[in-house]
Symmetry: C2
């Protein structure tokens, strides 16, 4: 499936075949492709919680507006971010890069983020979304549908998955085999409301 | 280009042909595809600032670590978000949906966000990144390369593009015709550091 076809065909699907089990090879491929999403300084600060335990899925559904896709999709991904990723030894992210690149980027990471809590959180949310969008389009290419979700009690979900204090919870993505079509695609806002040329208000 | 090929071939490219002008039809197609990215409640809260004015590009480069792609790429997108999008009349986002969908989703938007500043900001950053990743993969399919960027003085950029107070600045994406390959892809962290099964610490 071409990129263009996948972007056009992807819809947020709410109803899945609860009996479908995603083969391990598909899950591994999906994760491999997701990990090619870009992240600032190549920090790879996104974290993918792959929820397959049926009991946990039931508990999550109870704190996610009882949405069927939480239990019925083949896999539920909970997209998180490690807010301490910029504190790791930069060599971890750049050991394959030319020395001159390592010399520039390595020492820049910590001062760029340190003490800037909002920037650190933004970076976590941003990376998780770049990875999540990659995951949803890759899923489409592999024959799956998906549904990104923010409709849940974030505190309750964090508790259920034992989210560490230095991690952020971003959103969920249900991935599975569709049993019902999506409702018609929501209207797109006109370019005049979404696209700004050069500067706002000009 | 298939989704899988685009995800694997996409790299953050820093050097572009400064003489290349993106045809209007390509820009329109890129925007059209970007607007198919999902957003919570279909709010479409992302805003794309399309910067082509050469003088403004020079000023932006001066506050973006003098990175060449800011002036040399065919188009510079500044990905922003409207933090007031949830306050608009929901009919704007759902007028094409079945009445039962409108009845459920319309009244849910405002109470979900109102007064929750961090959630509103997270949603803006998340939507801008979902749209931005869609844009970067669509660009690859249309024969362009791209570079997502956070290395800039956010306050200075906000001033240059006259960012309204109720908008957030998320990141930049340079899109153009590559003149130099990227350096080798940064090492990927092992699944053991990025993928969590069911719960953290188990």
């Amino acid at each position: 499936m071409t990129v263009t076809e996948a972007i056009e065909a992807r819809r947020s699907i709410k109803h899945y075949d609860p009996k479908h089990v995603m083969p391990e090879a598909d899950l591994a491929r999906l994760i491999e492709l997701t990990k090619l999403a870009p992240s600032s300084f190549n920090m790879q600060n996104y974290r993918l919680v792959v929820v397959r335990d049926p009991e946990l899925r039931k508990q999550l559904r109870a704190v996610a507006w009882d949405q069927a896709q939480v239990t019925d999709a083949s896999v539920l991904f909970i997209m998180c971010a490690d807010l301490s990723a910029h504190r790791a030894d930069p060599a971890k992210y750049w050991s394959h890069a030319p020395q001159e690149v390592q010399d520039i980027l390595g020492p820049a990471i910590l001062p760029f983020y340190d003490g800037k809590d909002q920037l650190i959180r933004d970076e976590g949310i941003r990376s998780s979304a770049l990875a999540g969008m990659t995951l949803m389009l890759a899923a489409k290419d592999l024959g799956y549908d998906s549904c990104p979700m923010v409709g849940f009690d974030a505190e309750a979900v964090a508790k259920l998955i034992r989210l560490p204090d230095d991690h952020a919870l971003s959103f969920m993505i249900a991935v599975g085999k569709q049993t019902q079509d999506a409702w018609p695609r929501g209207e797109r806002l006109p370019d005049s409301e979404v696209v700004i040329h050069d500067r706002f208000g000009s």
